[in-house]
Symmetry: C4
């Protein structure tokens, strides 16, 4: 199978909701980066996180196996710096082979959950 | 009418919510793949589902009639293997004629529903 | 200002929620087609609606003034045929000058509202 | 880092929910324009807002620092004219260097929040 997608994906609208209600971890508020690698070799991925008042953080290194998805919560980006909750951020995904990237939010700050999702902006760059 | 769209669509952010509240089937939690074939001949579609820890599953074969939509719940992908609930997945739609594909989620794990939707990533491949 | 956008937009995931709770019309469940015409002449728009078990319905004729938005509820598509509630549909927007099209859902079938939105698939065709 | 994205972004589906419930400002209903500038020089941005029954308003001038995100609530677009709540609008983002733009809604008109988001339509124009 061809590796479908693009090597660079950009999201500008990140913000991990700072609080949660409901049972953990199922209902923990989150921004989740969802990557799919349809190709036949593993994808090496670097994520850079951009903030309003600070220099970018990263790269956070991830691997997506051949013919695999990988869904990772942004608050699990710990090394080199933990991404704080409740702040505006954006992120750039750079992969050494084409992937597809979606960013999904679960917001349980109030008792009843809310969800949203979008594909990223795919760039050749 | 021309067949609008693309022959390949990719989604990376699938996860069928594992539980539901409310009256079935109206409020059953679901990921729903929404296909539109604007063309004048039927579309033969194959869906491949990708997981985090397993080889891809499929192809699941669907048909979308000429000048028709077809909305199918991902948990109705049974043969060759049922797609499990509550696990991260991605999917690739391959059609023999151009279609348009959107993935919509209804999440009723809590008493009040949440919804999200996105177009897929359209690929020429 | 240039007319930004495309002349053809496609959505595959329509379904007007069949019931509502809360005060009308503010909280009436709806699918809303949102058009923006940034150009300096009026846009003549034809919408065709596709179903699962019937031939397409339309064209529904709309006008979007120069430098104007127009947000219209799909259940206001009456002539030549009313679009029924609670059924799967898709739609194609054909404009005589470029526009941008987004489809937004408000779902108040349960007491607390849910929302979703997506851009359409832009086609040159 | 290259400046990723496009110089022009378009959204057709704006509408700031007119009322809110819950603690301010965290749960104040909003449409939020989310911009990311990955480049090494500041981005000068002009936003024009389009309405159903009036001439466009703007330009609203924003700056997005080099390697920074900027998330701004549409109801903070005050000068030259405040964008009213509860009305349909669209907007065009024009930047002097490429950026990425997403529009996110938080709707707390009812007691439990709802969220939605979409990338804009990227134009070279």
């Amino acid at each position: 199978m061809t590796a479908l997608g693009a090597k660079t994906w950009v999201f500008s609208g990140g913000n991990v909701p700072a609080t949660s209600t409901g049972v953990e971890p199922e209902f923990t508020s989150r921004d989740e980066l969802c990557l799919l690698n349809t190709g036949d070799r593993d994808a090496g991925v670097e994520v850079t996180v951009y903030f309003e008042d600070d220099e970018p953080s990263g790269p956070y290194r991830l691997a997506v196996g051949a013919r695999r998805v990988f869904h990772v919560r942004v608050n699990d980006f710990i090394d080199p710096h933990a991404v704080p909750l409740g702040v505006s951020y954006g992120l750039v995904v750079s992969s050494d082979t084409p992937v597809v990237a979606q960013l999904t939010r679960l917001d349980t700050r109030q008792a009843e959950l809310a969800t949203s999702t979008t594909l990223g902006y795919a760039s050749g760059g």
